[in-house]
């Protein structure tokens, strides 16, 4: 933690910090607050780069290897989601690789390319900062990251960044309406854009929609996929997929495109299921007092979207042994319906909130 603080101090040396001069503020609160504040400051600095945001967040060697385009960035982007250890390793090796060029101007850029704060998944946030704030497990790494982030300002005038930007599409350049434009810093920007293009091809054939999916699918990692699908904020995605399933070439199952289509479909299910209590909350049977009134909610489950384990769990928790609780269940191809016979109730049923 102290390393991190020092790093932050280093990074913003020159700027005044009012909090640290205030005697009444407790130390812990102060440091916590301070670091958050600094990170936000740094974030805003990065945002100052305006159009370069996608470049910044994609973690990238595009700056270094100027002539490589998005394919290059897809490789490096994956690194930002690998474990912090790997990231540390790779950053060290990158430094080693570049050390022989110490006097060349590219060295600075390599550090810049490490600077972009990726948004790590929650388990990486060990520094006590709120989720979403760019942090790293290792204090040393954070140091290098933050100091290099501060160098963005120095790089601001570098024309090279802007030349690279020309190759990258942004929301605005693709003419999406402002409500769907991304105002945050978005990792996997390119993939999100590819997914979004499904929407723009509303009139076109399944083949073109599938092409959009495949081009977004450079990132096969499932967590990333869910993120990309969510971030692309597509409306009517479920019906689009239904349309594709119905009308696209059935031989897709034998090709990569089919695999990615299944992945997108899976992401929709996953996005819907992000609330883990959803499944449990739907079923709620209460009986208060000794009255014979039982409140029953009917759940409908589509078998094709539900795993067998889920159905079995439902049956076990609520329906077994059948009828003992005054509940019985009918399973059809279109779902499961539950009904109640109050007369045969032997013991009360309680809702089971999820753990």
């Amino acid at each position: 933690m102290s390393l991190l603080e020092r790093a932050i101090d280093l990074a913003i040396s020159g700027t005044t910090d009012t909090d640290s001069n205030h005697p009444a503020v407790p130390q812990v609160w102060k440091t916590g607050h301070k670091s958050i504040k600094q990170v936000y400051k740094l974030q805003s600095k990065i945002l100052d780069l305006g159009g370069s945001k996608d470049q910044v967040t994609q973690g990238t060697f595009v700056c270094v290897r100027e002539d490589k385009e998005s394919s290059q960035s897809s490789v490096t982007t994956r690194q930002s989601f690998t474990s912090p250890l790997l990231a540390a390793k790779s950053s060290v090796s990158q430094k080693n690789q570049m050390s022989h060029q110490e006097n060349s101007p590219t060295l600075k850029k390599v550090e810049v390319s490490e600077g972009p704060p990726s948004y790590p998944r929650s388990q990486n946030c060990t520094c006590g900062l709120p989720a979403g704030v760019p942090v790293h497990d290792s204090g040393v790494l954070t140091c290098s990251k933050i100091t290099s982030a501060s160098q963005y300002e120095d790089q601001k005038n570098s024309p090279k960044i802007y030349t690279n930007l020309a190759t990258h599409h942004t929301d605005g350049s693709l003419a999406s309406s402002p409500e769907y434009q991304d105002d945050g810093m978005a990792p996997y920007y390119a993939a999100v854009e590819c997914m979004k293009s499904i929407k723009r091809l509303t009139q076109s054939s399944p083949a073109r929609k599938i092409h959009a999916i495949v081009s977004a699918a450079q990132y096969e990692f499932m967590d990333v996929w869910v993120y990309v699908v969510l971030k692309s904020k597509l409306q009517k995605l479920a019906s689009t997929i239904a349309y594709l399933r119905q009308y696209s070439n059935p031989n897709l199952a034998f090709s990569e495109a089919g695999y990615y289509m299944a992945s997108v479909e899976f992401c929709i299910c996953e996005a819907v299921a992000l609330d883990p209590t959803r499944f449990y909350r739907t079923v709620c049977c209460t009986n208060i007092g000794q009255s014979k009134k039982v409140k029953v909610s009917v759940i409908k489950v589509k078998p094709e979207n539900t795993s067998l384990a889920q159905i079995e769990m439902l049956e076990q928790v609520f329906l077994c042994p059948e009828n003992e609780n005054g509940l019985s269940c009918t399973r059809t191809n279109y779902g499961i319906a539950m009904d109640t016979q109050c007369g045969s109730r032997q013991r009360p049923v309680h809702s089971h909130p999820s753990t």
Binding site: R78, T82, E220, F221, M222, R245, Q246, P250, N251, L252, A253, F254, S255, E256, G258, Y259, Y260, A262, E265, F266, C269, E270, A273, P303, E304, N305, T306, S307, L308, A309, Q310
Partner: protein, 217 residues
């Protein structure tokens, strides 16, 4: 829903608990690579393999379900329309074998007898740590009509044979199905929209069309 209809094209899914070596099996089979340090799947999720089986060219598309086990919605989407499934367990991990049993149950319930099953006891290079009884596993495989294989991606053992056997099984099924089609006629194939369009002339197609739409919705 239209069903895929390309000849000698098969879709195979790899199912099993995390870290039993599904990706390793696939990579060893298709690319003959093995990586000791492979942690959890980040890429390599779909691969194609062509093989020659008794003079017939067979193309199998292998769908790896790596890293996705923890997502409960995974199953039905991925194994839908597949011709074969390889259920992988780790011989050093009893729990993974129980998972295989669950998968078999689920597949049988959802896809019926349409799918060819193979069970792979992976990591036999770690024989000394074996926690799943080999004879028990084989007996279980027999009861569910699956072939059991002892495999090791590290030593490249049993993998060729397994995919070969599975392909043979799928070919047999395909031949059986092809033989069935003319006898069963349109009613059975009502769900196969594409087939209808190709084979049938206009008059009967319209009649069958109603049934088709009704089934699809």
């Amino acid at each position: 829903m239209a069903t895929a209809s390309r000849k000698n094209q098969f879709k195979v899914v790899l199912l099993g608990e995390g870290c039993v070596g599904k990706t390793s099996l696939m990579l060893r089979y298709v690319q003959d690579k093995f990586n000791d340090k492979h942690l959890t799947t980040l890429q390599a999720s779909f691969l194609n393999k062509r093989l020659n089986l008794d003079g017939q060219r067979v193309n199998i598309a292998i769908w790896d379900t790596a890293g996705q086990e923890r997502f409960h919605a995974l199953g039905p989407i991925y194994y839908r329309d597949s011709n074969g499934a390889i259920l992988v367990y780790d011989i050093t991990d009893e729990d993974s074998f129980c998972k295989v049993k669950n998968w078999v149950k689920e597949l049988k319930k959802m896809l019926g007898e349409d799918i060819a099953l193979c069970i792979a006891g992976n990591k036999i290079d770690l024989e000394k740590d074996r926690h799943v009884d080999a004879s028990e596993a084989e007996a279980y495989a027999k009861t569910v009509g699956a072939k059991h294989f002892h495999t090791s991606a590290k030593l490249n053992k049993g993998i060729e044979e397994m995919f070969f056997e599975l392909s043979k099984k799928m070919l047999e099924r395909q031949e059986k199905n092809d033989a069935k089609v003319p006898r069963d006629g349109m009613v059975e194939r009502g769900t196969n929209r594409r087939k209808n369009v190709v084979i049938v002339d206009e008059q009967p197609q319209r009649q069958g069309g109603g049934g088709c739409c009704g089934g699809g919705s």
